[in-house]
Protein backbone atom coordinates (compact mmCIF):
# COMPACT_ATOMS: atom_id res chain seq x y z
CA UNK A 1 0.00 0.00 0.00
CA UNK A 2 1.37 3.44 -0.90
CA UNK A 3 1.75 5.99 1.85
CA UNK A 4 -0.76 8.84 1.94
CA UNK A 5 0.52 12.23 0.79
CA UNK A 6 1.17 14.40 3.83
CA UNK A 7 -0.20 17.89 4.35
CA UNK A 8 2.24 20.78 4.24
CA UNK A 9 3.49 22.30 7.47
CA UNK A 10 2.58 25.96 8.08
CA UNK A 11 4.88 28.69 6.82
CA UNK A 12 6.60 30.32 9.84
CA UNK A 13 4.62 33.21 11.30
CA UNK A 14 1.40 32.51 9.44
CA UNK A 15 -0.28 30.69 12.35
CA UNK A 16 -0.70 32.04 15.90
CA UNK A 17 1.36 30.44 18.70
CA UNK A 18 -0.36 28.54 21.51
CA UNK A 19 1.45 30.75 24.02
CA UNK A 20 0.14 34.23 23.23
CA UNK A 21 0.92 36.28 26.37
CA UNK A 22 -1.38 39.23 25.53
CA UNK A 23 -4.34 36.83 25.37
CA UNK A 24 -4.82 35.91 29.03
CA UNK A 25 -6.72 32.66 28.51
CA UNK A 26 -3.67 31.09 26.86
CA UNK A 27 -1.58 31.36 30.07
CA UNK A 28 -2.83 28.19 31.76
CA UNK A 29 -3.98 26.38 28.65
CA UNK A 30 -0.94 26.18 26.39
CA UNK A 31 1.26 23.08 26.64
CA UNK A 32 4.78 23.79 27.87
CA UNK A 33 6.30 20.69 26.34
CA UNK A 34 7.08 20.87 22.62
CA UNK A 35 4.46 19.24 20.41
CA UNK A 36 5.47 15.87 19.00
CA UNK A 37 5.70 16.15 15.23
CA UNK A 38 4.41 12.95 13.67
CA UNK A 39 4.48 11.91 10.02
CA UNK A 40 0.98 11.95 8.61
CA UNK A 41 -0.83 8.64 8.42
CA UNK A 42 -4.28 7.73 7.19
CA UNK A 43 -5.59 9.06 10.49
CA UNK A 44 -4.52 12.57 9.51
CA UNK A 45 -5.09 12.41 5.75
CA UNK A 46 -8.62 10.99 5.90
CA UNK A 47 -11.63 12.85 7.23
CA UNK A 48 -15.31 12.37 7.89
CA UNK A 49 -17.45 12.64 4.79
CA UNK A 50 -19.82 15.43 5.68
CA UNK A 51 -22.84 15.65 3.45
CA UNK A 52 -26.02 17.73 3.51
CA UNK A 53 -28.03 14.49 3.90
CA UNK A 54 -26.64 13.92 7.34
CA UNK A 55 -25.83 17.55 8.18
CA UNK A 56 -28.68 19.72 6.82
CA UNK A 57 -27.83 23.05 5.24
CA UNK A 58 -28.86 26.26 6.93
CA UNK A 59 -27.69 29.25 4.89
CA UNK A 60 -29.91 32.06 6.16
CA UNK A 61 -29.26 33.53 9.60
CA UNK A 62 -31.11 36.76 8.80
CA UNK A 63 -34.53 35.50 9.89
CA UNK A 64 -36.29 33.02 12.13
CA UNK A 65 -39.63 31.61 10.94
CA UNK A 66 -39.90 34.34 8.34
CA UNK A 67 -39.34 37.16 10.82
CA UNK A 68 -36.35 39.32 10.05
CA UNK A 69 -33.58 39.80 12.59
CA UNK A 70 -32.64 43.31 13.67
CA UNK A 71 -29.52 44.81 12.19
CA UNK A 72 -27.80 45.32 8.89
CA UNK A 73 -28.45 42.39 6.53
CA UNK A 74 -25.27 41.08 4.90
CA UNK A 75 -24.22 38.43 2.41
CA UNK A 76 -20.95 36.65 3.15
CA UNK A 77 -19.42 34.71 0.26
CA UNK A 78 -16.06 33.37 -0.73
CA UNK A 79 -14.03 30.56 -2.10
CA UNK A 80 -12.18 27.83 -0.26
CA UNK A 81 -9.01 26.60 -1.91
CA UNK A 82 -5.90 24.80 -0.75
CA UNK A 83 -2.48 26.46 -0.68
CA UNK A 84 -1.99 25.63 -4.36
CA UNK A 85 -5.21 27.40 -5.31
CA UNK A 86 -7.15 24.20 -5.93
CA UNK A 87 -10.85 24.55 -5.09
CA UNK A 88 -11.92 22.50 -2.08
CA UNK A 89 -15.26 20.87 -2.86
CA UNK A 90 -17.83 19.67 -0.37
CA UNK A 91 -16.17 21.39 2.59
CA UNK A 92 -18.62 21.68 5.46
CA UNK A 93 -18.53 25.20 6.89
CA UNK A 94 -20.00 25.85 10.33
CA UNK A 95 -20.65 29.47 11.21
CA UNK A 96 -21.64 31.19 14.45
CA UNK A 97 -21.74 34.79 15.59
CA UNK A 98 -23.19 37.42 17.95
CA UNK A 99 -26.29 39.41 17.02
CA UNK A 100 -26.30 43.05 15.88
CA UNK A 101 -26.12 44.17 19.52
CA UNK A 102 -23.05 42.09 20.25
CA UNK A 103 -24.78 39.30 22.19
CA UNK A 104 -24.66 35.57 21.51
CA UNK A 105 -27.79 33.46 21.63
CA UNK A 106 -26.04 31.45 24.33
CA UNK A 107 -26.82 31.12 28.06
CA UNK A 108 -23.20 31.74 29.05
CA UNK A 109 -23.18 35.16 27.38
CA UNK A 110 -24.31 37.61 30.06
CA UNK A 111 -23.31 40.81 28.29
CA UNK A 112 -25.91 43.50 28.99
CA UNK A 113 -27.16 43.85 25.42
CA UNK A 114 -30.52 42.71 24.05
CA UNK A 115 -31.16 39.28 22.59
CA UNK A 116 -33.09 39.19 19.34
CA UNK A 117 -35.81 36.51 19.15
CA UNK A 118 -35.36 36.49 15.38
CA UNK A 119 -31.65 35.85 15.43
CA UNK A 120 -30.02 32.57 16.46
CA UNK A 121 -26.66 33.12 14.83
CA UNK A 122 -25.58 29.79 13.45
CA UNK A 123 -25.38 28.40 9.94
CA UNK A 124 -24.05 25.39 8.07
CA UNK A 125 -23.15 25.37 4.38
CA UNK A 126 -21.10 23.32 1.94
CA UNK A 127 -18.76 24.49 -0.81
CA UNK A 128 -19.75 23.78 -4.41
CA UNK A 129 -17.66 22.26 -7.22
CA UNK A 130 -15.66 25.47 -7.51
CA UNK A 131 -15.08 25.74 -3.74
CA UNK A 132 -17.60 28.57 -3.38
CA UNK A 133 -19.93 29.19 -0.46
CA UNK A 134 -22.28 31.93 0.64
CA UNK A 135 -24.73 32.67 3.42
CA UNK A 136 -27.02 35.42 4.58
CA UNK A 137 -26.68 37.06 7.98
CA UNK A 138 -26.75 40.23 10.04
CA UNK A 139 -23.66 42.29 10.68
CA UNK A 140 -22.59 41.29 14.22
CA UNK A 141 -21.95 43.83 16.96
CA UNK A 142 -18.79 44.33 19.03
CA UNK A 143 -18.83 43.10 22.62
CA UNK A 144 -16.68 43.54 25.70
CA UNK A 145 -14.51 40.83 27.20
CA UNK A 146 -12.38 40.71 30.32
CA UNK A 147 -8.95 40.15 28.85
CA UNK A 148 -7.76 43.59 29.96
CA UNK A 149 -9.33 46.87 31.02
CA UNK A 150 -11.91 48.14 28.51
CA UNK A 151 -11.29 45.26 26.13
CA UNK A 152 -13.69 44.83 23.19
CA UNK A 153 -13.61 42.17 20.52
CA UNK A 154 -13.63 43.48 16.96
CA UNK A 155 -16.76 42.35 15.16
CA UNK A 156 -16.26 38.87 13.81
CA UNK A 157 -17.90 35.68 12.56
CA UNK A 158 -16.58 32.27 13.65
CA UNK A 159 -15.91 29.74 10.90
CA UNK A 160 -15.33 26.00 11.37
CA UNK A 161 -13.99 24.11 8.36
CA UNK A 162 -14.12 20.38 7.65
CA UNK A 163 -11.85 19.52 4.72
CA UNK A 164 -10.79 16.29 3.04
CA UNK A 165 -8.22 15.44 5.71
CA UNK A 166 -8.52 15.68 9.49
CA UNK A 167 -5.19 17.56 9.39
CA UNK A 168 -7.05 20.32 7.51
CA UNK A 169 -9.63 20.71 10.26
CA UNK A 170 -9.58 24.26 11.57
CA UNK A 171 -11.56 27.02 13.23
CA UNK A 172 -10.95 30.67 12.44
CA UNK A 173 -12.64 34.08 12.63
CA UNK A 174 -13.59 36.47 9.86
CA UNK A 175 -13.24 40.16 10.64
CA UNK A 176 -14.69 43.25 8.94
CA UNK A 177 -12.76 45.94 7.06
CA UNK A 178 -12.20 49.28 8.75
CA UNK A 179 -12.94 48.04 12.28
CA UNK A 180 -10.94 50.28 14.68
CA UNK A 181 -10.91 47.49 17.29
CA UNK A 182 -8.69 45.27 15.13
CA UNK A 183 -5.57 47.23 16.03
CA UNK A 184 -6.25 46.64 19.73
CA UNK A 185 -7.19 42.96 19.65
CA UNK A 186 -4.68 40.46 21.11
CA UNK A 187 -6.38 37.50 19.39
CA UNK A 188 -6.08 39.10 15.96
CA UNK A 189 -2.51 40.19 16.69
CA UNK A 190 -1.37 36.80 17.95
CA UNK A 191 -0.53 35.83 14.38
CA UNK A 192 2.92 37.35 13.76
CA UNK A 193 2.75 37.70 9.97
CA UNK A 194 0.94 40.88 8.95
CA UNK A 195 -0.22 39.54 5.59
CA UNK A 196 -1.61 36.43 7.31
CA UNK A 197 -3.53 38.64 9.75
CA UNK A 198 -4.93 40.77 6.98
CA UNK A 199 -6.25 37.71 5.18
CA UNK A 200 -8.59 37.27 8.16
CA UNK A 201 -10.26 40.57 7.30
CA UNK A 202 -13.09 40.23 4.79
CA UNK A 203 -13.45 42.70 1.93
CA UNK A 204 -16.49 44.71 1.03
CA UNK A 205 -17.53 43.48 -2.42
CA UNK A 206 -20.00 45.27 -4.69
CA UNK A 207 -20.32 42.14 -6.84
CA UNK A 208 -21.66 40.20 -3.88
CA UNK A 209 -23.80 43.13 -2.75
CA UNK A 210 -27.43 42.86 -3.92
CA UNK A 211 -29.21 46.10 -4.86
CA UNK A 212 -32.00 47.14 -2.51
CA UNK A 213 -31.23 44.12 -0.33
CA UNK A 214 -27.88 43.57 1.40
CA UNK A 215 -24.19 44.50 1.48
CA UNK A 216 -21.76 41.80 0.41
CA UNK A 217 -18.48 40.77 2.03
CA UNK A 218 -15.93 38.42 0.53
CA UNK A 219 -13.99 36.03 2.73
CA UNK A 220 -11.74 33.54 0.96
CA UNK A 221 -10.29 30.72 3.01
CA UNK A 222 -7.18 28.63 2.36
CA UNK A 223 -6.85 25.12 3.76
CA UNK A 224 -3.51 23.32 4.02
CA UNK A 225 -2.20 21.91 0.76
CA UNK A 226 -0.52 18.59 0.17
CA UNK A 227 3.21 18.01 0.01
CA UNK A 228 4.52 17.75 -3.54
CA UNK A 229 5.93 14.26 -2.96
CA UNK A 230 4.55 11.41 -0.94
CA UNK A 231 7.67 11.55 1.24
CA UNK A 232 7.75 13.78 4.21
CA UNK A 233 10.71 15.07 6.16
CA UNK A 234 9.48 14.68 9.70
Amino acid sequence: MTDPTAYRRPLPGTQPPLDAPAYGSTHKRHPKQPLLRIPHTLTETSAPRMSPDRYPVQADMSQVNGKGALGERIIVAGRITDEDGRPQRGVMVEVWQANASGRYHHPRDQHDAPLDPNFEGRARIFTDEDGRYSFLSIKPGAYPWRNHWNAWRPIHIHFGLHGAGFAQRMITQMYFPGDPLLELDPIFHATPDKAARERLVSKFDLQITKPEWALGYRFDIVLRGREATPFEKA
Binding site: K28, P31, I38, S46, H106, G160, R169, I171, I187, V222
Partner: protein, 180 residues
Protein backbone atom coordinates in the same frame (compact mmCIF):
# COMPACT_ATOMS: atom_id res chain seq x y z
CA UNK B 1 1.37 29.70 -2.99
CA UNK B 2 -1.05 31.28 -0.53
CA UNK B 3 -0.39 30.10 3.03
CA UNK B 4 -3.27 28.45 4.88
CA UNK B 5 -5.66 30.79 6.69
CA UNK B 6 -4.61 31.49 10.27
CA UNK B 7 -6.43 29.59 12.98
CA UNK B 8 -8.30 31.61 15.63
CA UNK B 9 -9.70 30.48 18.97
CA UNK B 10 -13.15 28.90 19.04
CA UNK B 11 -13.86 31.23 21.97
CA UNK B 12 -16.27 30.67 24.87
CA UNK B 13 -19.50 30.59 22.83
CA UNK B 14 -18.81 27.79 20.36
CA UNK B 15 -21.72 25.86 21.93
CA UNK B 16 -23.90 27.49 19.30
CA UNK B 17 -22.60 24.61 17.15
CA UNK B 18 -22.85 21.99 19.88
CA UNK B 19 -25.13 19.12 18.98
CA UNK B 20 -24.91 16.85 22.05
CA UNK B 21 -26.10 13.81 20.13
CA UNK B 22 -22.88 13.88 18.09
CA UNK B 23 -21.04 12.44 21.11
CA UNK B 24 -22.85 9.15 20.47
CA UNK B 25 -21.42 7.67 17.28
CA UNK B 26 -23.93 4.82 17.52
CA UNK B 27 -27.06 7.01 17.72
CA UNK B 28 -29.99 6.29 15.44
CA UNK B 29 -29.35 8.08 12.16
CA UNK B 30 -25.58 7.92 12.60
CA UNK B 31 -25.29 5.39 9.80
CA UNK B 32 -23.39 3.18 12.23
CA UNK B 33 -26.40 1.18 13.43
CA UNK B 34 -25.72 -2.51 13.02
CA UNK B 35 -21.99 -2.18 12.34
CA UNK B 36 -20.42 -5.15 14.13
CA UNK B 37 -17.86 -4.32 16.78
CA UNK B 38 -17.15 -3.78 20.42
CA UNK B 39 -19.13 -0.94 21.98
CA UNK B 40 -16.92 1.29 24.10
CA UNK B 41 -17.14 4.63 25.86
CA UNK B 42 -14.24 7.06 26.02
CA UNK B 43 -14.35 9.47 28.93
CA UNK B 44 -11.81 11.99 30.11
CA UNK B 45 -11.35 15.09 32.17
CA UNK B 46 -9.51 18.06 30.75
CA UNK B 47 -7.57 20.23 33.18
CA UNK B 48 -5.39 23.32 32.81
CA UNK B 49 -2.02 24.34 34.25
CA UNK B 50 -3.61 24.91 37.68
CA UNK B 51 -5.36 21.55 37.59
CA UNK B 52 -8.69 23.36 37.16
CA UNK B 53 -11.28 21.71 34.91
CA UNK B 54 -11.59 23.09 31.40
CA UNK B 55 -15.35 23.47 31.24
CA UNK B 56 -15.75 25.06 27.81
CA UNK B 57 -13.81 22.76 25.47
CA UNK B 58 -15.01 21.49 22.12
CA UNK B 59 -13.70 17.95 21.81
CA UNK B 60 -13.78 16.10 18.51
CA UNK B 61 -12.75 12.55 17.73
CA UNK B 62 -11.83 10.88 14.48
CA UNK B 63 -11.30 7.13 14.27
CA UNK B 64 -11.39 4.08 12.04
CA UNK B 65 -14.09 1.43 12.33
CA UNK B 66 -13.54 -1.96 13.94
CA UNK B 67 -12.35 -3.12 10.49
CA UNK B 68 -9.51 -0.56 10.55
CA UNK B 69 -11.02 1.39 7.66
CA UNK B 70 -11.81 5.08 7.67
CA UNK B 71 -15.29 6.04 6.57
CA UNK B 72 -16.11 2.77 4.79
CA UNK B 73 -18.66 0.94 6.90
CA UNK B 74 -18.21 3.06 10.03
CA UNK B 75 -18.47 6.82 10.32
CA UNK B 76 -15.87 7.74 12.92
CA UNK B 77 -16.50 11.40 13.73
CA UNK B 78 -17.82 12.72 17.03
CA UNK B 79 -18.07 15.98 18.96
CA UNK B 80 -18.62 16.57 22.66
CA UNK B 81 -18.64 19.63 24.92
CA UNK B 82 -16.71 19.29 28.16
CA UNK B 83 -19.06 19.68 31.13
CA UNK B 84 -18.85 21.56 34.44
CA UNK B 85 -16.30 18.99 35.66
CA UNK B 86 -14.25 19.32 32.48
CA UNK B 87 -15.38 15.87 31.33
CA UNK B 88 -16.23 14.59 27.88
CA UNK B 89 -17.77 11.24 27.01
CA UNK B 90 -18.11 9.50 23.65
CA UNK B 91 -19.98 6.31 22.80
CA UNK B 92 -18.41 4.47 19.88
CA UNK B 93 -17.03 1.19 18.59
CA UNK B 94 -13.46 0.24 19.33
CA UNK B 95 -11.36 0.94 16.22
CA UNK B 96 -9.23 -1.72 14.57
CA UNK B 97 -5.55 -1.40 13.71
CA UNK B 98 -4.82 1.07 10.90
CA UNK B 99 -1.94 0.96 8.40
CA UNK B 100 0.89 3.34 9.23
CA UNK B 101 3.60 4.59 6.92
CA UNK B 102 5.77 2.07 5.13
CA UNK B 103 4.92 -1.41 6.31
CA UNK B 104 4.12 -0.31 9.84
CA UNK B 105 0.81 -1.10 11.50
CA UNK B 106 -0.66 1.38 13.93
CA UNK B 107 -2.28 0.14 17.10
CA UNK B 108 -5.99 0.94 17.49
CA UNK B 109 -6.36 4.61 18.36
CA UNK B 110 -8.77 7.51 18.40
CA UNK B 111 -7.50 10.92 17.28
CA UNK B 112 -8.67 13.71 19.58
CA UNK B 113 -8.86 17.42 18.67
CA UNK B 114 -9.46 20.01 21.40
CA UNK B 115 -10.68 23.52 20.64
CA UNK B 116 -11.36 26.08 23.38
CA UNK B 117 -11.11 29.61 24.61
CA UNK B 118 -7.39 30.21 25.14
CA UNK B 119 -6.36 27.78 22.39
CA UNK B 120 -5.33 29.81 19.35
CA UNK B 121 -5.01 26.60 17.38
CA UNK B 122 -6.60 23.33 18.38
CA UNK B 123 -4.60 20.66 20.19
CA UNK B 124 -4.36 17.16 18.81
CA UNK B 125 -3.62 14.00 20.73
CA UNK B 126 -4.50 10.31 20.52
CA UNK B 127 -6.16 7.75 22.76
CA UNK B 128 -4.64 4.28 22.50
CA UNK B 129 -6.02 1.33 24.44
CA UNK B 130 -4.05 -0.19 27.32
CA UNK B 131 -3.18 -3.85 26.82
CA UNK B 132 -3.15 -3.85 23.01
CA UNK B 133 -0.30 -6.00 21.72
CA UNK B 134 0.31 -3.56 18.85
CA UNK B 135 0.99 -0.69 21.28
CA UNK B 136 4.54 -2.07 21.67
CA UNK B 137 5.32 -1.46 18.00
CA UNK B 138 3.11 1.55 17.26
CA UNK B 139 5.20 4.18 15.41
CA UNK B 140 3.68 7.17 17.23
CA UNK B 141 3.81 5.68 20.74
CA UNK B 142 7.40 4.69 20.11
CA UNK B 143 8.38 8.29 19.36
CA UNK B 144 7.71 9.08 23.04
CA UNK B 145 10.70 7.78 25.00
CA UNK B 146 9.63 8.66 28.53
CA UNK B 147 7.19 5.93 29.70
CA UNK B 148 5.33 8.40 31.92
CA UNK B 149 4.74 10.71 28.99
CA UNK B 150 3.79 7.83 26.70
CA UNK B 151 1.15 6.82 29.25
CA UNK B 152 -0.66 10.13 28.63
CA UNK B 153 -1.66 8.71 25.25
CA UNK B 154 -3.04 5.42 26.56
CA UNK B 155 -6.61 5.07 27.85
CA UNK B 156 -7.17 2.71 30.75
CA UNK B 157 -10.06 0.22 31.03
CA UNK B 158 -12.70 0.89 33.67
CA UNK B 159 -14.70 -2.27 33.04
CA UNK B 160 -17.80 -2.94 30.91
CA UNK B 161 -16.26 -1.33 27.81
CA UNK B 162 -15.59 1.98 29.55
CA UNK B 163 -12.21 3.60 28.86
CA UNK B 164 -10.71 6.67 30.46
CA UNK B 165 -8.11 9.14 29.28
CA UNK B 166 -7.63 12.35 31.23
CA UNK B 167 -6.03 15.24 29.41
CA UNK B 168 -3.73 17.74 31.07
CA UNK B 169 -3.13 20.83 28.96
CA UNK B 170 -0.15 22.11 30.94
CA UNK B 171 2.18 21.26 33.80
CA UNK B 172 2.69 18.06 35.77
CA UNK B 173 1.50 15.06 33.80
CA UNK B 174 1.07 17.20 30.71
CA UNK B 175 -0.46 15.24 27.84
CA UNK B 176 1.68 14.58 24.78
CA UNK B 177 0.16 16.74 22.06
CA UNK B 178 0.88 16.06 18.43
CA UNK B 179 2.09 18.46 15.77
CA UNK B 180 0.15 17.08 12.81
Amino acid sequence: MIPATASQTAGPYWHMIDFPEWADLLRPGSGNEGVPGERVTLTGRITDGDGAPVTDALVEIWQAGPDGEYEKGFSGFGRCASNAEGEFRFVTLKPGPVPGRGNAMQAPHIEIAIFARGLMTHLVTRAYFEGEVLNATDPVLNMVEDPARRATLVATPQGDGAWRLDIRLQGEGETVFLDV
